[in-house]
C-alpha cells in the first residue's frame, strides 16, 4: 500500500513538476511559430529525461549516493568542479527565469510590473525553504502543479487533431526559418532535459531513504510521471498551435501567452493560465534553489538536508539563501523574462554532455550499481540525445543571436 502511495505521489510530482517557465515558454513558442512540427522535440526530451530520472533514482536506491556525491568520489574534486560549475550556472539562470515566471503571473493578475514582484517572490521562496521540510516543498508544489492539466482540457476543447499531432512525433526538417526552428528545438530539449530535474530527484530519493526495494517504484515514477508531464507540455504546444499559428501570431512577449487558454476556456482559461504559470514556476523555483544548494553541499561534503533545521546545516541554508537573493536581483533589473527563459534553456542543452556523461560513466560502474548497471540501450538513448542537442545548440545559438533566417 505504501509503495502504491509512493507511485501515486511520484506520478503527481512528475505531472505537476514537469511544466515550468522553460517548458511552458518553449512549447508555446514552438506551437505558435511552427504549428505541430516540433512535437517530436518534446517527445524526444521527455524520453531522455525519463531515462535520466530513472538512473538518478536507481543510483540513490542502490548505492545510497546522490549524484554529486558519487561524481566527487568517482572522479575527484578537480574533475567534479566542471559539471558543478556548468550545472550551477545553468540552474541559476533557470531559477531566475522561474522567479520571472511567478512575477509575470502576478503582473498579469494585478497590472503591477513584474520586476516589482521579484523581491516578494524571492522572499516567499526563501521563507518556504527555511521554514518547511522536503516533503511539503516537493509534494505540496507538485499537487498544486496539477492545475497545469488545464492545458489538456484546452487542447480537448480546441478539438486537437490527434492524427496530425502523432504524425509529428518523428523528427522532421523545417518548412521555414531553419535557424529559429533548430533554436526552438534545442530550447525545448534544454527545458525537458533540465539537469535540475534528475539532480533534485536523486537528492529526493536519499531524503526519502530509498533502498533497492524501490527500483520498481522508481521505474514507474520515471516512465509514467515524465510521460504524463511531457503530454502536458505537448498540450501547451497544441493550444498555441491551434490558437496562434493559425492566426499568424508569434510569441514575442509572455503577456501574449494567456490568450491560448482564454480562447478555448474563456474567463476561467485566463485565470487558470495565470495560476498554472505562477504555481508551476513557484514549485520549480523551490526545487531549483534547493537543488543548487544540494549540489554544492553534496559536492563539497557539507552537511545538507531540507529535513534538518537550517542552523544545523548552515552552509547549505546560506547557499540557497544567496542564490535566491541573486536570482531575484536579476529579475529586479527588468530583464525580459521570456528571452531569459529561452536562452537559459538553449544553454542548458549546450551543457548537457558535461552533466550527462559523468552520470553515464557512474551508471556503468558495478562498484556503485552492482548488477543494476545500465543497459546499453539506456546509454545510447541518453548519449545520442545529449550530444545532438549540444551540437545543434552550438550552431543554432550563434545563428539566432545573429538574427539568422
Amino acid at each position: 500500500m505504501n509503495k502504491l502511495l509512493e507511485i501515486a505521489l511520484g506520478l503527481v510530482t512528475g505531472i505537476g513538476g514537469f511544466l515550468e517557465a522553460g517548458s511552458l515558454a518553449t512549447s508555446a513558442q514552438a506551437g505558435a511559430a511552427f504549428g505541430f512540427q516540433l512535437v517530436w522535440a518534446i517527445a524526444l526530451g521527455t524520453f531522455c529525461i525519463a531515462f535520466l530520472v530513472e538512473m538518478a533514482g536507481r543510483l540513490a536506491a542502490v548505492s545510497k549516493h546522490t549524484l554529486p556525491d558519487a561524481m566527487r568520489e568517482r572522479f575527484g574534486i578537480r574533475f567534479f568542479t566542471v559539471p558543478l560549475i556548468a550545472v550551477v550556472l545553468v540552474s541559476f539562470l533557470v531559477l531566475a527565469s522561474e522567479i520571472g515566471g511567478v512575477s509575470l503571473a502576478l503582473q498579469l493578475a494585478t497590472g503591477v510590473r513584474f520586476q516589482w514582484w521579484a523581491p516578494v517572490v524571492a522572499l516567499a521562496v526563501w521563507l518556504l525553504l527555511w521554514a518547511h521540510n522536503f516533503s511539503l516543498v516537493e509534494k505540496g508544489a507538485s499537487l498544486l502543479g496539477l492545475v497545469t492539466l488545464v492545458f489538456l482540457v484546452g487542447a480537448h476543447r480546441l478539438h486537437a487533431p490527434l492524427g496530425e499531432i502523432a504524425s509529428n512525433l518523428l523528427p522532421g526538417l523545417p518548412r521555414q526559418d531553419p535557424a529559429r526552428y533548430w533554436f526552438t528545438a534545442v530550447s525545448i530539449l534544454g527545458a525537458s532535459v533540465s539537469p535540475y530535474l534528475f539532480y533534485f530527484y536523486s537528492a529526493g530519493a536519499i531524503e526519502d531513504e530509498w533502498d533497492e526495494g524501490y527500483l520498481g517504484v522508481n521505474r514507474m515514477i520515471a516512465g509514467l510521471g515524465m510521460g504524463f508531464g511531457g503530454t502536458v507540455a505537448i498540450a501547451v504546444l497544441v493550444c498555441a498551435a491551434m490558437v496562434f499559428h493559425s492566426r499568424g501570431i508569434q510569441i514575442d512577449r509572455y503577456e501574449q501567452i494567456p490568450l491560448i487558454l482564454a480562447q478555448p476556456l474563456g474567463h476561467w482559461g485566463f485565470i487558470l493560465f495565470v495560476a498554472s504559470l505562477g504555481i508551476a514556476c513557484f514549485g520549480a523555483a523551490l526545487e531549483i534553489a534547493l537543488q543548487i544548494a544540494y549540489l554544492i553541499a553534496q559536492g563539497f561534503g557539507w552537511k545538507w538536508g531540507e529535513n534538518i533545521r537550517p542552523g544545523q546545516a548552515a552552509r547549505f541554508s546560506l547557499t540557497y539563501t544567496l542564490v535566491i537573493l541573486l536570482a531575484g536581483l536579476v529579475i529586479l533589473t527588468g530583464i525580459d523574462p521570456l528571452k531569459l527563459t529561452i536562452f537559459s534553456m538553449a544553454l542548458t542543452a549546450l551543457s548537457l554532455p558535461v552533466t550527462v556523461v559523468p552520470l553515464l560513466i557512474i551508471m556503468n560502474d558495478p562498484e556503485y550499481l552492482g548488477e543494476n548497471v545500465n543497459h546499453w540501450i539506456a546509454n545510447a538513448a541518453v548519449l545520442v540525445v545529449s550530444v545532438i542537442a549540444c551540437v545543434v545548440a552550438l550552431v543554432a545559438i550563434p545563428l539566432q543571436l545573429m538574427g539568422g533566417s
Binding site: D252, V392, G403
Partner: protein, 89 residues
C-alpha cells in the same frame, strides 16, 4: 562499458550529419528577407490585437489584462516600425 563505447561510436557518426544539415539550412539574411520578417512581425502584433479584442468582447479577459496586452501590442508595433525605418535607411 562496451554499451557506452557503442553509443559513443553511434553518436560520433551522427555528428557530421547533424552539423552539415544545420549549416546547409542556415543561410544569410538578405534585405528582402529582413523586410518580410518585419512584415510578419507587424501582422503578428495586429493579429494579437484582434484576438485580444475578440476575447475581451466575449468577456473572457479581465480589464487589468486587456490594458497590459494593449500596451504590449503598441510597444511591439512601435519596435517593428523603428526597425523598418532603420533598415530602409
Amino acid at each position: 562499458m562496451s554499451g557506452t563505447r557503442r553509443a559513443v561510436g553511434a553518436t560520433a557518426s551522427l555528428l557530421p550529419l547533424t552539423a552539415s544539415l544545420l549549416l546547409l539550412s542556415a543561410c544569410h539574411s538578405s534585405p528582402e528577407k529582413e523586410q518580410e520578417k518585419l512584415r510578419q512581425q507587424l501582422s503578428s502584433w495586429e493579429a494579437t490585437d484582434r484576438l485580444a479584442s475578440e476575447l475581451s468582447d466575449r468577456g473572457a479577459l479581465p480589464g487589468v489584462y486587456v490594458r497590459q496586452i494593449a500596451e504590449v501590442v503598441e510597444q511591439g508595433k512601435q519596435k517593428v516600425r523603428q526597425q523598418a525605418a532603420k533598415s530602409s535607411q
